[in-house]
């Protein structure tokens, strides 16, 4: 189904999560003729993350809190086919760390006569719902996360076979991360595995990391913590997944340990900050590679996983590539977890001195460390990472990853604080500002977009952006790389050279990622607008203190001069060709015009 250009059925387009389309109707030669074909407002503000799905001529749209879902018929997108507007406890808003975002929907195609096709949606208040894809009616609804203990949901659900995987959020409130698989037909819990704690709860068996025992094996979910700190240890996974059906392994990253004050949690804090490969049926870990936090507490996160098959050093390898918050892009053998490459996302990374490839570890730079009773300065990357929730892309013909990168550094000072369930548990004060290649006097130059080869470890091209490239990219066979920017542009660059070929000014900044589909022979490209997320918290919640919003307010103080809030979808095609340009009378209430004879 994912191979059919008429569909866009899951986050990242297909199980490789490479967000690469084989369509070339829109290409480097004609992209200058790309125009809006139609648009849709969700009726909500706040950050609009993720991207819509298209299945069998119907588009499914997710929104920010309260996580409305809309279905539009592509033959006449002006008429809303159905809408689902959940009633959620408004208290959920108060425990969301980083705006009221949601990263998208999932789709399950029915394989029996009993269960309808389903659209799966996660809600900020912790519910997971399955909706009848035809009617929008609730088919089932379970409780996955409890806002009373600070646990929310922003991650998109992910369908593998007859299960839906659901992640977790709330590490900023000390939530111990877990991932759950539900049977889509019955809503029964199939498995639930944690990021910290006893081996059986983490999903560690006898063959875990057998190819790389130096990564650690049994008992470390407890042994790398002091006392019971693992119970509030973080490791939530709110990012993206990928899946290899031939290995039956699901790939994702567990998030940060908590609190941010690292003096309060001695130890390696396993298995947070880990690239995980779990068996889809049992949830057990085949392998896990902890990415290592820096001495400054910059912590790896649940960022995108992209699968590729490439030849490196003469060997044909099945790979997973992962651009992390900590400034390193990792490439591992996805069969057994061997570390194949680890490169800096930018040469201004200073929290590591270098990557020692022989044992496979990045070496920490103590000079840029953080600790109690000390203010660390000029630390790169910042806590927002050199890469965050952006869903990037990979072009298998060019062998290039197109990365949406942040260029933000910081000062960081931790403080002691107690843990109270349901309250924020951060324990650090941050100031963030542009990295060395940006304009620190004017707080601009906070982002980059780059084309990276995991074979050479080199960047074929790089370009600075005014603000962090927060949403992600899409690559196409037309030789184009598309991405939205926080200052409200939707851009297309030449995939080979990085040359800017086209852009469009959207109503608001973009923090989702682009998608494409074909309908009635025409290629369309869709993108959400609606600024927000962590970089938008100052603008969204009208904050002034530069250290507010976990330090993001100061870094993005100038964002308001380029954009305001919004919320909706733009759909582009060549010359703006679409249902209404083809037939202006489509969806008219009446075509009969009466006159009074004058």
């Amino acid at each position: 189904m994912a191979k059919d250009p008429e569909n866009y059925a899951m986050p990242g387009l297909d199980y490789t999560a490479d967000n690469y389309s084989t369509m070339d109707q829109i290409n480097t030669g004609n992209v200058k003729d790309l125009r809006v074909a139609w648009s849709f407002s969700t009726g909500l503000l706040n950050g609009h993350e993720g991207t819509p799905l298209v299945i069998d001529g119907v588009m499914y749209i997710n929104s920010s809190f309260p996580n409305n879902v809309y279905a539009l018929d592509l033959n006449n997108p002006g008429k809303i086919k159905w809408q689902y507007k959940p009633k959620q406890d408004p208290a959920a808003r108060a425990v969301a760390c980083c705006d009221l975002v949601n990263r998208g929907l999932a789709y399950w195609p029915s394989d029996d006569s009993k269960t309808p096709d389903l659209i799966l949606s996660n809600q900020l208040d912790g519910h997971v719902v399955a909706l009848n894809a035809e009617t929008g009616e609730e088919y089932w609804k379970v409780e996955n996360s409890d806002i009373k203990v600070g646990s929310t949901l922003t991650v998109a659900p992910y369908v593998v076979k007859d299960t839906v995987l659901v992640g977790s959020s709330g590490a900023e409130l000390g939530v111990r991360g877990y991932t759950t698989a539900y049977n889509v037909k019955t809503a029964e819990q199939v498995w639930r595995k944690y990021a910290t704690g006893p081996d059986d709860e983490v999903g560690i068996g006898d063959d875990f990391n057998e190819a790389n025992p130096q990564y650690g094996q049994k008992g470390l979910g407890l042994a790398t913590w002091e006392g019971d700190a693992w119970k509030i240890g973080g490791g939530t996974n709110w990012g993206w997944y990928a899946y290899d059906p031939s290995l039956d392994l699901v790939y994702y990253g567990s998030g940060n340990p908590r609190p941010w004050n690292e003096t309060m949690r001695p130890g390696d804090n396993k298995w947070t900050m880990t690239i995980m490969a779990r068996n889809a049926d049992t949830g057990n870990l085949k392998w896990g590679y902890q990415k290592r936090r820096t001495t400054s507490g910059i912590m790896p996160a649940s960022t995108v996983m992209m699968l590729s098959d490439q030849k490196i050093d003469g060997k044909d390898l099945k790979l997973v590539t992962h651009p992390d918050r900590n400034g390193i892009i990792y490439t591992l053998n996805r069969v057994n977890g061997d570390l194949v490459r680890a490169d800096f996302l930018d040469d201004t990374v200073n929290v590591w001195t270098h990557v020692d490839m022989r044992p496979g570890i990045p070496v920490r730079n103590p000079e840029y460390g953080t600790r109690m009773d000390h203010k660390g300065k000029d630390i790169c990357p910042s806590a927002m990472g050199y890469h965050d929730q952006a869903h990037d892309s990979y072009d298998p013909e060019r062998g290039l990853f197109y990365l949406a990168i942040n260029h933000i550094c910081m000062d960081w000072e931790p403080f002691m604080l107690p843990y109270r369930a349901g309250q924020f548990f951060v324990g650090a004060t941050l100031s963030m500002y542009p990295g060395p290649k940006g304009d620190r006097a004017n707080y601009l130059g906070l982002g980059q977009v780059k084309a990276y080869s995991a074979v050479t470890g080199k960047y074929k091209w790089s370009v600075m952006e005014r603000f962090a490239a927060w949403g992600g990219t899409m690559a196409t066979k037309g030789g184009l790389v598309f991405y939205p920017t926080l200052d409200g542009y939707f851009k297309a660059r030449n995939a080979d050279t990085g040359e800017l070929l086209w852009k469009f000014k959207m109503p608001s900044g973009g923090i989702g990622y682009p998608m494409t589909y074909e309908h009635n022979g025409t290629q369309y490209i869709g993108i959400y607008y609606g600024v927000g997320g962590w970089p938008g918290v100052g603008l969204v919640f009208d904050l002034q203190d530069p250290t507010a919003g976990l330090g993001a307010v100061g870094a993005f103080r100038n964002l308001q001069n380029w954009t305001q809030m919004g919320g909706g979808l733009l759909v582009f095609s060549l010359d703006g060709k679409g249902p209404y340009s083809e037939d202006v009378n489509l969806d008219e209430y009446s075509t009969e015009i009466t006159t009074d004879g004058t």
Binding site: N144, S151, N183, A187, Q189, Q214, Y215, G227, A421
Partner: protein, 83 residues
């Protein structure tokens, strides 16, 4: 294990000196090996630490009732008091 003894000479915690495979943490100079009893003791309240685990157990029990009822009746009822 090559990993355990990879880098020599670094005086401060750089992540390369491992007690065991996968366990390479060291205190930074002047900071304690254990925070319990030190001035950085988080003094966690065990009752607070137990809240997440209890909440998940209760949600799992309610969900199990809902899906069992769904399998039996073919209708989803969210409110467990009505099952």
């Amino acid at each position: 294990m090559a990993l355990a003894f990879a880098a020599g000479g670094a005086l401060a915690y750089d992540g390369t000196k491992c007690k065991a495979p996968g366990n390479c943490w060291e205190p930074k100079p002047g900071y304690p090996e254990k925070v319990k009893g030190s001035k950085y003791d988080p003094k966690h309240d065990p009752k607070e630490l137990a809240k997440q685990g209890n909440s998940i157990k209760e949600m799992e029990a309610r969900n199990a009732k809902r899906s069992a009822n769904f399998k039996k009746t073919g209708k989803w009822v969210y409110d467990v008091s009505k099952i």
